[in-house]
Each structure stands twice: as C-alpha cells, then as structure tokens.
C-alpha cells in the first residue's frame, strides 16, 4: 500500500509501485488538472508540486511520491475561488486550447514561491521547459507578472 497526500487529502493505494503519479492523480483521484502530454517528462503538461517543487508527474513513480505533499492545479483554487495565479491567467486570457496551462501555472507557482517578483527573463527561464503548441507565450508571461502583483497584494 502506498499513501499519497494530495491537496491535503490522504489516500492509500494498492497499486504497482512503479505506476506514474500522473495516472493515479487522473484515473484514481479524478484530478484532471495535470495532463498527459508526452509521458517522458519533456513537455511539462503534467506538472504538479511535490513539497513545493514543480515535478513532472508522468515521470514520478508513486513510490517516490509516498507521503510527500502533492499539490495539483485543483489544489490551488477553483473557478469560483481562483488562486491569484489562476485569476491572473483568466484576467490575461492566457490560454488558447489550454492544454499546457496546468504546467504553466504549477511551474509559475513554484517560481513565485522562491522569487516573488521575477523579471521577464526569470519567468521565461522558469517556463522554458513547458511547451505550448498554440503560441500563447506572451500572454502567459504577462499573466505570471500579473500574478506576482496580485500575490504581493495578498491575493
């Protein structure tokens, strides 16, 4: 049995230890925020936070995630009560298809925790490993900057 702590909820799973965290989040916990993009840790669509660090959940076996604090997009906020980063993405309309946005937001969350007022360059560097096929990059960077302001104001 493997115990996962996801968005503050503790659940025990009788699953193969090598099962990637992504599949458990999506299929066992119905958390659709993290997305399957490549399964190779290369696109960033599956990003979640593990003890505050942005990780690629497609490449983390659940055995390695056991007991750690996992946060998904759903753990930040909802459309009723969005987290400041989510609000900033809404305000900037920073999505086309939106499939990559989970990774953009979760990676930005980790960035803003360690660097509350990042420069454009820092934002671009932090998000360089997150692919967006539609080309929403400008708005995404603007959203992260806006999020920094919102968070500095206390959300």
């Amino acid at each position: 049995m493997i115990t996962l702590v996801v968005n503050g909820q503790t659940t025990r799973f009788d699953l193969d230890a090598d099962t990637p965290l992504l599949y458990v989040l999506r299929d066992n916990l119905a958390l659709n925020g993290p997305k399957f993009g490549c399964g190779l840790g290369q696109c960033g669509a599956c990003t979640v936070l593990m003890n505050g660090q942005a990780v690629r959940s497609c490449s983390v076996p659940i055995a390695k995630a056991a007991g750690l604090r996992i946060t998904t997009l759903e753990g930040l906020g909802s459309s009723e009560k969005p987290h400041p980063i989510q609000k900033a993405f809404i305000d900037e309309q920073a999505a086309q298809c939106g499939y990559c946005i989970n990774g953009m937001i979760m990676t930005s969350k980790a960035l803003l925790e360690r660097s509350p007022n990042p420069s454009d360059r820092e934002i671009r560097k932090a998000l360089a490993g997150n692919l967006c096929r539609c080309g929403t990059h400008q708005r995404i960077v603007a959203a992260v900057k806006r999020a920094a302001v919102l968070m500095a104001k206390g959300g």
């Binding site: 699953l15 193969d16 090598d18 099962t19 990637p20 599949y23 999506r26 299929d27 119905a30 958390l31 659709n32 925020g33 993290p34 997305k35 399957f36 993009g37 490549c38 399964g39 190779l40 696109c43 669509a45 998904t72 997009l73 759903e74 930040l76 906020g77 909802s78 459309s79 969005p82 989510q86 993405f89 809404i90 309309q93 920073a94 999505a95 086309q96 298809c97 939106g98 499939y99 990559c100 946005i101 989970n102 937001i105 692919l131 967006c132 096929r133 539609c134």
Partner: protein, 585 residues
Amino acid sequence: MLDAPTTRRDFLKGTGALIVSFSLAGPLAEASAQTVTAAKPVALDEVDSFLTLASTGRVTVYTGKVDLGTGTRTSLRQIVAEELDVPLDWIALVEGDTATTPDQGPTWGSLTIQVGGVQIRQASATARKALLEQAAQRLGVAPDALEIRYGVVRVKTDSTKSVAYSELIGDREFHLKVDKTAPLKSPGEYTIVGTSVPRVDIPAKVTGEWRYMQDVRVPGMLHARVVRPPAVGAELRSVDESSVSGIKGLRKVVRQANFLAVVADSEWAAVKAASQLTATWSSWEGLPEMSKLYEHVRSTAINKDEVTIDKGDPKAALAGAAKRLEATYEFAIHTHGSIGPSCAIAEWKNDQLTVWTASQATHLLRRDLAMTFGVPADKVRCLYFDGAGCYGRNGHEDAAADAALLAREMGRPVRVQWMRHDEHGWDPKGPPTLVDVAGGLDAAGNVVAWQSQFWIPKVTLITEGVPFVAATLADLPRKPTLNPGNVFQNSAPSYTFANVHAVCHRLETTPFRPSWIRTPGRMQNTYANEAFMDELAAAAGVDPIEFRLRHMNDTRGATVLKAAARKAKWETRRSRSSARAVPSA
C-alpha cells in the same frame, strides 16, 4: 460545466412540444447513455436545428462547428446574444454532437464565424422575426412598434406592455425554415458583437474543471494502447502473448491483421503491456532515405500538371533578362504534434456506436466510421470534447477508429490514448514540398519574368477524408484517398509580373499518409515565393519592402505591407542573396 452535450434523452416529448432540460452539471454521466431515438431537427434549413429557447429563458445554440482553442464557443454565443437581444450568459452551446447539431462542415479554413456563424445568425434573425410577430399579435400592436431587451419584447412607447421569449416559445419548437430575408440587426446597433468579452471556457481551463477529451471517463470503460508496426508497411508475423502474461489488469491482446493493441483495466497496465509485448514484424523499407527526400519527391511519378497562373511569355522574357536567378526551396514534412496526443472513447450498444472524440469534423468522422465498421451513419454518434490545439486533420479520427475497433472486440467502452510516439509516428503528415523558382530582372531591377514549379501530392476530393490507420492495418473498408488538403494554394504569386507561369506537379504518392495541416500550401508556397522575392530584391540592390511595393497594384496588400513594416520598425536595407545567379544568355 459549460457546453454540456445534451443527449437525445434530454428531449422529452410533451404534448407536441419539445422539452429540453439543460443539465449543466454532470454532462459525462448524461453522455454515457445513448438512445438516438427522439428527433431533434438537424437540417441546415430549420431554425430548430440551431436554436432552442427554454421556458427558463435559457437559449441553447447547436452548432456543427467546434472550438479548437480559438474561442469560437464564445464568439458564436456573442452572435446569437446580439441577434436575439439576450444576455450572453443565458446562452449554452452544444458543439459537434452529431445527433443534435446540424452538419455545418468541418472546423477548417477559418470558416466557423464567416460561414457557420452566418448560418446561426440567420437562424437567430428568423427566430427574432417570428418572436416579434407573435408578440405583436399578443400585444395588439404592429411589430415595428416593439423593441426587445433581455429577451423581453415590449411596446416602445409603453414598457409595461411586454411579453418574454420564454412565454412566447419556451420549450416549444419554432417549426420554421431559416428565412434568408429575415432582417439582421444593423452593425451600428451592435452592443455585444465587436466587443471583447472574456472567453467562457478559460476559468474552467485554468482550474482543472474543464473536461478535455482526455479527461472523459465513461462507466465501465477499459484502457487501451495501440502497438504500431515498427515501419509503415511492416506486416505482423507473430505475437508472443506470454511476454505480457504477468501484467496485472491486462485483459486482452487484440490482433486483427496488422492491427495490434492491448486492453487493460488501468492505463498503466496498458502502457506497460504495450511496451513489453513481443511481436515480430516483416521488414519494410519503403521510405526514401532522409538525406535523399527531395530527390525522391522530384522523381515521384506525376499524376497531372496544374497551371495556377500563366501570363505573357516568361520563357522568352527570362532569356532576354538582364539578370537571371534560380533557387530551390524544400519544405519539410510536418507533424501536427498536438501537445496532447490523440484520444478517443468508443462504446457499442445494440449495433449502435458512440464515440467521444476531439475531431475537428465529427460529422465527417461519423460517416467514415459508419463505412469502416459497416453500420448505417444514423447508428453512429460522435460527441465532441476539446483536445489539445488542433491544426487540421490530426490523429483524433484515427484514435476514434482504434477505439471503435477495440470496443467492438471487448463488448465494453474502450478508451484509447495515443502515446507521444504514436502521435509523432502515426498522425497524418503535412507532405514535403519542393519548389523551383526562376526569375529575371531588367536593367532597371524590375521583375520581367517568373517561372515556378511545385512538387506536391495530388488530392482526392477533400471531403473524402483521410483513411484511418486502424482501417488500413486491420484491413477494414476504407477509401484509398490521398488528401493533403489544398496544397496548391498561393503557388501563383500575387505580384504584377507581366510574364509569369506557375505549375503544380501533382504527385501520385508522398512518403507518409498526408493530411491538411495549418493553412495547407499557403505557408509552404508563400515561403518559397517570398524568399525568392528577397533574392530578386537583393540582386536588384533594392530594399525588399520597396521592391515588393513596386510589384503590387493591390491597395489593400500594399497597406498591409506598409503597416507591417511600420510595426516591425523596418530599417531600409538590401537583402543578402543566396540564390544561384544564372549566366546571361
């Protein structure tokens, strides 16, 4: 959740009335059942095909067009809200459900607003006209004495005399043909169209609440992964099922001719089984060598030549030119490469097939699935859910056929999620394009001759679709089409050359199964034409913007070019040349 695809079940027959219950929560549970029996109109000439007005005031719009990430589910709502004078948030939209939406054609060619939107607008205008007439009768005044605000028709001079849409039509059908003469609101009166409104889907998309195709779950569904041949035409010789016998949750290895897949209770079991399964395939080396791709293209058999422009005598003009240049442009094979690999779910119930899909063309998909699986089209229902950004005919249709084949085999709903390697390896490709251009300048540096040749695949009628991978591998009925889209587009240069000739050599074959991808031809052919214009400008010693303006008589084009140069802070300069200068004759 927004955009709940209502099911036939939602249409409850009353006393000659059609009652629609709008389930904005739990659409997936709703969608899991399929009883395609009740008959909501879907004909393109019926108002009821496009619109229902509920007694609650809710307006539901039904469209065969789907939002591929460009925001049309918001802008189509704007069009209807404007024409009917109802608030934007009263409008629900059902997209691409083949059972309840009219077939407005695939979502391609930037036609959703300019064609699909116009159809919906006319249906709305017809509805508005009918509602006004009914209200006039009820209120005992002439229709032009009335105005509409927030779905309420009232007498202009006495707003206490009013009647709401919901009272006039609520839950009933219009039984009206779309009236092409029904008056449209004048653009000068617009309050919603032309304004920038927030997209309706973004809040759900940034919080994980939106259901993409990849997030759809159907009760009782199994998970499958496909195991494709190691080479395009390799044939399956044998499968060693013992290689996956230890995998917990694996249900079945499905083999049909060269189609191979694994079906399991969980995604991870399917992923593991697909990667561990030992199969032997015949060797196949039918692809050209990468380094010789364009030699292969150049030597491919030509089906026919299509001349896209022929003016003056470019051959003679070229021979007499002061300067002559030649260049060759190669445009690589392109994958659609959506960030979310293709995914579909299929379920068979009583010879009726339901497919959950992110296809850009659900109505076409329905027809093709019917052909491949040997059932009438009205026994197939395709329900649309967003995929990751779509730029043409990608792998979603193929995943749908994979799922339909496997669901029939398993007798249960099956979800097929392509892995990244399935997507890159097997989505249909934008074909390689090869272009030769020759041009000549006179002594003053003006273009006196232009000759170009394009080597591009032939095209079957575009609505004939692209054969499913599963149909080819499993040897199921399919049309042997070659469909790269309109790849001839923009082969003819739009400049004012006196002597110009462009020919498209339409090739019999192309290395990979082609499909249309992002503005077919226009990107490739324009790239070649414009790159060569730069070469000619360089040879003429003229700034490339100035050079183009000299060869344009199209005011609109010139305005765009000047505006682009201004915005790009263009600095006047000469281009550098890499084209081959051809010795003067």
